[in-house]
């Protein structure tokens, strides 16, 4: 009898695991369960659809026929309600039971709702799935003014959508600059100016105290903690994710802001693995537990998980992630863990070009590049090599920096 693998989640982590399992175990029984109504699509590009820049078709990655052709049993609109790790089975909302030899949880997260009055009113949107993107596109096309909340990598997508759809927007931020945990005011101001050029006005030391709605229950204004009222017929909220851990809370699986896995993507239960946003993983480069929600990281985790489901210990997850913003006429890229570390160095390297590198114990753990992405590979190489650069941090800020610019004495 062939081994059976059940994958919960058909995002890039689950789908890359299914692909790898099929490649390496041609006779395996593979089942993919997803609560979404459509198969794998390109989550990076759904913002482009909402901006009105892309049609729907190129966003699909796996047509349903792909699953038939690869002998993968795909179950759409299927909600897993219980995991029985002692009985090696998962149960769905319709009472079906799927037994497994090995289970992969790629169950991701759900956008957080603001804990304020009328946060669930019509016209207030969160952005995670393709269905969200469709609703956002439809809503924003009819909007005249908007409010955006969430001064991070997801919130800026709403700013770009409003800009592209020519909707005037106020971007309400709690601090004094966008993504204040990774950028100084100097770096953030480049982003602020790009927003302003698209009709999106950053509002600092603000936020949302409550939303006001009309008689039909549709949002009509946001009121910030200072009492300022901002009229809006569209609101985009991107304040973070709740990881979908409720499914495993009644199981022996270890949780720590997600499902804890080792460097082989295995949980504390031998035949249960996890991949993607849901994981709190052993980051071998950082030397600590970490989380990462980037596309590349999730894809790699799915692949590594599958290999270790087939042969535990065969391959470690060792990855430097990156995430770019390509909404503007200059590029932006964050890599590694730019909000962590015990030190940092930053510089404006040319007009409109800025970079910041975060360090932990003298080693690069992450950073942000604005305008000039050319040092991206060099910084990632330093992370992978774990080189101590504490006595040469100024070299990291040189335009055209390459690893060869560092003195050989710092090599480990």
């Amino acid at each position: 009898m062939s081994d059976s693998y059940v994958i919960v989640g058909d995002g890039i982590a689950g789908a890359s695991a299914a692909e790898t399992l099929r490649e390496q175990a041609p006779d395996a029984e593979i089942t993919v369960l997803t609560d979404e109504g459509e198969s794998l699509y390109n989550r990076i590009l759904i913002k482009e659809y909402a901006k009105g820049k892309l049609p729907e078709a190129p966003i699909s990655i796996h047509q349903e026929s792909w699953y038939d052709e690869h002998d993968v049993d795909l179950r759409l609109n299927t909600v897993v309600v219980d995991i029985d790790v002692e009985g090696d089975a998962v149960h769905t909302h319709e009472g079906e039971t799927f037994e497994y030899d090995s289970l992969l949880l790629a169950i991701g997260g759900t956008p957080q709702q603001l804990p304020v009055e009328n946060a669930d009113a019509d016209g207030i949107h969160h952005f995670w799935t393709f269905q969200d993107a469709r609703r956002i596109k439809e809503s924003v096309e009819d909007a005249e003014n908007a409010v955006i909340v969430g001064a991070g990598l997801l919130g800026i997508d709403f700013a770009a959508i409003c800009g592209a759809q020519e909707v005037e927007a106020k971007y309400l931020m709690r601090g004094d600059n966008w993504w204040r945990y990774a950028l100084s005011e100097e770096g953030a101001e480049i982003m602020h100016e790009a927003m302003r050029e698209r009709g999106v006005e950053p509002v600092f030391d603000s936020g949302v105290d409550r939303f006001e709605v009309d008689d039909d229950g549709h949002v009509e204004a946001a009121v910030d903690p200072n009492g300022e009222r901002y009229e809006c017929d569209f609101a985009g909220v991107a304040i973070g994710l709740n990881f979908n851990t409720e499914l495993v809370e009644a199981t022996p699986l270890e949780l720590d802001d997600g499902v804890v896995v080792d460097e082989f993507m295995r949980t504390n239960v031998d035949n249960v693995f996890a991949a993607g946003d849901i994981t709190t993983f052993n980051d071998l480069i950082l030397g600590d537990r970490a989380k990462n929600g980037s596309w590349g990281s999730a894809k790699e985790q799915g692949t590594i998980a599958a290999r270790n489901m087939l042969d535990y210990g065969s391959e470690e997850f060792r990855w430097v992630s990156s995430y770019s913003i390509t909404h503007f006429d200059f590029p932006f890229l964050s890599f590694g863990h730019p909000t962590l570390g015990d030190d940092s160095v930053e510089a404006t390297t040319a007009e409109g070009e800025w970079r910041r590198v975060a360090l932990k114990h003298g080693k690069v753990v992450g950073g942000v590049l604005i305008g000039d992405l050319s040092p991206q590979s060099a910084f990632k190489q330093l992370m992978r090599e774990g080189r101590d650069v504490s006595d040469q941090t100024e070299v990291l800020m040189e335009p055209g920096f390459s690893v060869d610019d560092l003195a050989a004495t710092t090599e480990q």
């Binding site: 590009l45 190129p58 966003i59 990156s322 390509t326 006429d329 992405l373």
Partner: protein
């Protein structure tokens, strides 16, 4: 990313038209090598050896949409 031994050259041409049957890749989906290539060719009248990752007709989303052309 592999370099094809075809002798063909690749360039990126800015495009605003994305037909539904186009394969669209975002910069974040590409390997580091392909990302370097995109950064170097985007918006510039330059070419590079064809890669195994980007095919003729593909579109890459970077700071704009760029269509891959090989010849």
């Amino acid at each position: 990313m592999s370099i094809r031994e075809t002798g063909r050259r690749l360039r990126l041409r800015r495009t605003g038209l994305i037909p539904p049957d186009t394969r669209v890749r975002h910069y974040d989906e590409l390997s580091e090598e392909a990302q370097v290539l995109v950064r170097e060719l985007a918006g510039r009248p330059e070419t590079a050896p064809e890669t195994g990752e980007l095919d003729d007709g593909d579109v890459v989303k970077f700071t704009d949409y760029y269509q891959v052309r090989t010849r």
